[in-house]
Structure formats: C-alpha cells, structure tokens
Symmetry: C2
Subunit: 378 residues, 2 copies
C-alpha cells in the first residue's frame, strides 16, 4: 500500500535479520529505537544518537501534542527538522501514555478524554486525531490508536478492550489513508491469552498494515509469560512485515524476543538508567553510585568505543554521578545507547552467522535476574 519495503536477508530459527527501507533512510533489523519523548533523546544531541548506530527514533505523540503541539511542529517544518534528526522517526499513537500519565481519563467508543499532566488542560484523542497528529509531525512510521488495559486484567476485560482496539485500528487505518513513503502499523493486543492474540492478528491482517506491533506486553508480567505470548503469536503474524515489540526492554528481554521472531524494539531503559547512574555492560549492569567504583581507573566497558568508555574512568563516572552532574547523564546515556546498538548489531551478525541462540544465551547469562528496571515508557 506504500513504497515502504521490508526485506529479510537472513534467518536463524525464528529470528530474522533484514532492512526496512524508507525515503528518509534504511532501518537495519533487529532494530532498537531510542526514545525521543519530547523531541529530544534525553541528555543526547541528535548527532550523538546517530553515532551510537541508531537508524530510527521513537517520538511520543502524547508529549508532543501537549507541548509544543502538533500544529505548531507542522508550522515549524515537521518533527525531523524541529529536533534535528533527518532519519526515520516512528511515533506512537499517544494511547499508552494517556493511560499511564494523564489525569481524569474517560474512554468511550469515540476516543479518550483526559487532562494534560503538564497544565491540566482537557484533551480528546480519537483514532482520527491520533493519526492526524502523527501526519502533522511528519512521522515515517505511524501507529494506530489502541486501548491499553491495565495489567493484570481478566479475559473478559481483555476481550472487550481488544474489540475496541480493533475498531479503533480500522478507523486509524482509514484516517492514515495513502501517504507515499510513510508506513502505518497495527498493534496486536489480547493480553496473555493466545486465542485473543491470534484473533487480533487475524483482524489486523484483514485490514492490512505495513507492519505489526505487539502491545500490552512488558507491563508487569514475568519475562517467561511474555515469551510465551510471543511464541503463541508471532508464528501467526505475516512473515513479510516487520514485527515491533513496544516498550521492551532489558537486554535479555530483547534477545529472547528476537529469537521469537521480533524485529523492532523501543525502550526508555538505556536513557533513564543512564540518568540514574546505571550502566549496561557486556558483563551485566553496573550501578556507578557504588563505592566500589570510587578508585577504579578502568573503563566502564573495555569493549565499548563510546566517549564515556574511551575518555573516562569508572572513578570519574562514580564521582559525577554522586555529585549529580549533568555530564553523568550525558556520558551514561551515550554509553547505554551504544551498548543497545552494539547489542542489535551483535544480534544481526549472529543471525547471519547462524549463532543467534549462543549469542542470546551469552546476553541472558549476563542479564537474567538483573534488577535493572524495564517495561517503562515515556
């Protein structure tokens, strides 16, 4: 339906490696999308984000519609020019953050009424408005509006929510219309219930999208349960369309999902952890606040080529984290985003080489059970 192409160059079991080609650039998959919530990947310049290896950013419709506003961004030339990132941008629909951040939410068939968490202003988001906002932003990959039920929820509640999400998906797809060079993704819902997930896939593919996301995961369920849902769902999804697991996650979540056929990810974890003094390394997570680092002249991760690892010791990073200096957020965000992009590059190479299982096992050994936080968005 568009001139967006997805080509798979290698597979290893259910894992796939390939490229999504958009007018603004190629996205190498499996891909990790840094989150640029309010038109900035926090504590990073756009050029630095690119230097970590990122091909695509995620922008948050909810934040941008409230401030500075979609019409204003359109007037200023679109989100890419506004924030200085000329490569692809995927935008969410705003639905998830309305549910998690906004006040006084009221969901109806028509859409969702809520209050801005910034100034209390009353807002109304419908599938049509969500798509209009994403078009005004100039988003390359636009997501349908869906309902995001709180976890845990019973089967009847999930089934009812899914039905609404599927009606909204149809309206979203119609509102997206025909935008050459831009893609529209549907979102598979259905909670932890395989038959509902499969029904969702069936209904979405009947509508027809450029890609299919998995929503409502990483919201509190155990990793094993998330993997079970993926195993029950991805085999039913179109092979020739990218699959995007929203809001995931920790390194071991990502490698496990890639083994189960997922192509795209986004998560605030690398940047949020960076602002909190936590680093991801090839040997697992590190808390730089820990006094053990106070006189450690070694780098954060000897195998990393980012500016934090090339130019500074753990002792320095410990000091600036403890002192609350902005450079701590800058260096640790840069490092963590580099780690995530290196992780994706490692996955792509492992898939091409037929060693995805071994690669994933190595990451899982370093991260399984690590108490780094995940499943948080925006």
């Amino acid at each position: 339906m568009t001139d967006v192409r997805f080509s798979i160059s290698a597979t290893d079991g259910a894992a796939r490696s390939g490229e999504i080609t958009l007018p603004r650039g190629v996205i190498r998959t499996p891909a990790f999308m840094p989150v640029g919530t309010a038109a900035t990947v926090k504590a990073m310049l756009p050029q630095s984000v690119r230097e970590t290896g990122a091909d695509v950013l995620l922008g948050n419709t909810y934040h941008l519609m409230l401030r500075p506003g979609a019409e204003r961004i359109a007037k200023l030339g679109g989100l890419h020019t506004f924030m200085g990132w000329e490569r692809p941008i995927l935008t969410d629909s705003g639905g998830f953050q309305v549910m998690s951040l906004a006040g006084l939410r009221k969901i109806s068939e028509e859409g969702v009424r809520f209050q801005s968490h910034i100034d209390g202003a009353r807002e109304f988001l419908t599938p049509e408005r969500a798509m209009e906002i994403q078009r005004l932003l100039g988003s390359d990959i636009q997501m349908v509006l869906d309902e995001c039920p709180a976890y845990p929820a019973g089967e009847a509640e999930i089934e009812k929510s899914l039905a609404l999400s599927m009606r909204w998906a149809r309206r979203s797809r119609a509102a997206f219309g025909d935008q050459p060079g831009h893609a529209c993704f549907g979102i598979v819902q259905g909670g932890v219930y395989p038959h509902l997930r499969q029904r969702s896939v069936h209904e979405l593919t009947a509508i027809g999208f450029d890609g299919y996301a998995l929503g409502g995961l990483a919201v509190g369920e155990a990793q094993a349960q998330m993997f079970d849902v993926l195993e029950a769902t991805t085999p039913h999804m179109p092979v020739d369309r990218p699959r995007y697991l929203m809001g995931v996650g920790k390194p071991d979540d990502i490698v496990g999902a890639v083994l189960r056929g997922v192509d795209m990810f986004d998560c605030v974890l690398p940047t949020r952890s960076g602002r909190n003094g936590q680093a991801f390394t090839r040997n697992g997570p590190l808390n730089l606040r820990n006094a053990a680092h106070a006189e450690d002249l070694g780098p954060l991760d000897p195998d990393c080529a980012c500016p934090a690892c090339r130019g500074f010791s753990r002792a320095y990073l410990h000091h600036v984290v403890k002192a609350g200096e902005i450079i701590a957020a800058m260096l640790l965000s840069w490092h963590n985003l580099t780690y995530y992009q290196d992780l994706m590059a490692g996955l792509r190479a492992a898939i091409a080489g037929g060693t995805a299982d071994a690669f994933a096992a190595g990451v899982a050994a370093a991260y399984a059970g690590a108490r780094a936080r995940s499943g948080e968005k925006g």
Copy 2:
C-alpha cells in the same frame, strides 16, 4: 621563578594581548576560563569545551577537596586525567567558596575552619593546605589563599582583612615552593580603596609571583566602581605578568576590564545562564523562555558557529527550555561558552588592530544595563 612565560604581542591603550606559555599548552590573552567546578564544566564534555576555543579551565579547590578529595584525585593521576582535560587548569584556593558556600566558618590567623555544605564534615583550610591541595590536583596555575570579606565592608575592616591576606599570601608562596612548569599567582585585595589596593600590589610584588589576580570585585559593587578600582590598581601592577580579574563577569564587564589592562577572567555566568535558559548573543542577552521565540525559525545568533546555532531554531530551544530538557542546558551552555570565546578572540584581534575601544563600545551597547546576572562564582 618558574619556566612559565608571558609575552605581550600587542597593546592598545592599557589593553594587552599576548600568550601565557605552560608545558600543557598556550593560553591566548585576554583569556576567558570556563569554570569546571566539580571536575566538569557543567553540561559540557571536555572536548566540546575545547571546541569553543577555551585554552584553560578553572577548577574549584573547595568543591574538589570535599568531593572526591585531593588525595583521591592525586591517586587517580591528577585532575587533568581524571576529568579528561589535558590543557592548562587554573585552580582557585578555595577561600572564596568557603566564605560563600560552607557553614560555621571561623577564621583565625592559622586558617579557616568550616563545615562542608555537602555532608557537614568539619574541615580546616590553611594557606599551606590550600597549596598542597592544588599541588595534589596537578594545577598549572595555583592561587594563594586569601580572605574574602563580605561586601560592603568599611575601610578598617578591609585593611585588617588585607593584612591577613598578605600574611597568607607569603605563607602560600612559601608552600608553593619550586614547581617547574607550574605558576603561582598572588591576589590583590583592598576592597574599593585605592591606597589599600596599591599597598596590596606592593606587598605581593615584593614576595614575587608569576601573575597577579584582582580579588574582592564583582561582589555587589556597581560596574563603574569596579572599573574605578581597576584604573587605580592595574597601572601599579607589574607589566610583564598576567593580570586576572576573578569571577568576572558579564560581557560588558570583561571588555571594560580588558581596556583597563586585565588579561584573564573566569565566571560561571555562561554555563549557569545556559542552564537557566538565557543566551548571550552579539545583539545582547536573550531569555529563551520568552513566548516570542515559540515559532521563531531563526537561529539564536546568526553569526555563531556553535552546534546550537547551526542545528536548531529558537523555537526548538524555547521548547526544550520550557520542557526542562537536559539538551537545553547542553546547547545553551555550548552556545554561551562559544560566545564568550568569540568575545575574547574579538578582543585579541581588536587590540592587535588598534580598535579595542570601538570593539568594547559595541559590546557595551549590547549589554550595558542588561539584567543578566554576574558576580557569581562556583
């Protein structure tokens, strides 16, 4: 007394332009030193600070002695390696910040007792300890410990304080000893009283220093009064030694002081203002919070080559300032430091070309009366 050289290549009236040559690099004068309080120029990477044109940084003895500690920095290889800045560093003696930040201060002939503003720990700073700390840090230009009386103060109080500062200067100089490749600067005190300033110069030159700073200015007095003090003091200072006006200041303060024979400056204003959404431009100060910038596609300063001006609009900067995003502090600090270094380069060129008065008048026209804050340190 050391192998530190100061050469003057051009003069224009009382203004001088030249170079201070240290083993770690050349400092072009008039020079502006960004403040790297706690081993970081806030919101900047060291390489970015260098890209603005800075030849030398200022480090704060007070902050560094409390956290991470001078002995620890020495153990880790010295301040330059620790913070990733291999060019010259000037350190203050800690005296000013003890007076302005610490708790429970008690000054005696021996030194000053105080409580850390970080954890309340009891500390004791003497002239000998101040110099030992600076030596442990590996500072290229080390400042004597002086007493910094609060402004305003009467003549008798200033005279008594000056006498103590001169005794501390002698002890500081003796403690500095002989450090090839490192310089020791005395600090001229005496408040707003010309005869006390001149007495201070006389006593310090009798001791003999590599350079002479002017302390106790930009502490609340009017600009005209500060300029009067400079005019009454600099003609009595050695011609062949650099003169450093501590903690100054706004652009019009700096150009006025250069016309009166000052060679070096430091101030937190460009970085602190940057974190507060204020920018320095060739047309005067700008407050990016102002709604007038919300849809302005123009750059902050069309004549500036910094990343903020090359890559982003005023509208974007307004947005990220309003949203409290870290990138606002990063971009505006970078821009403001670039503005200050461009200002110094402009002054050096004007002195060489014999147009210092006209250059200074242009800056004063843009900044005189502007309510940007000045006179703040650390």
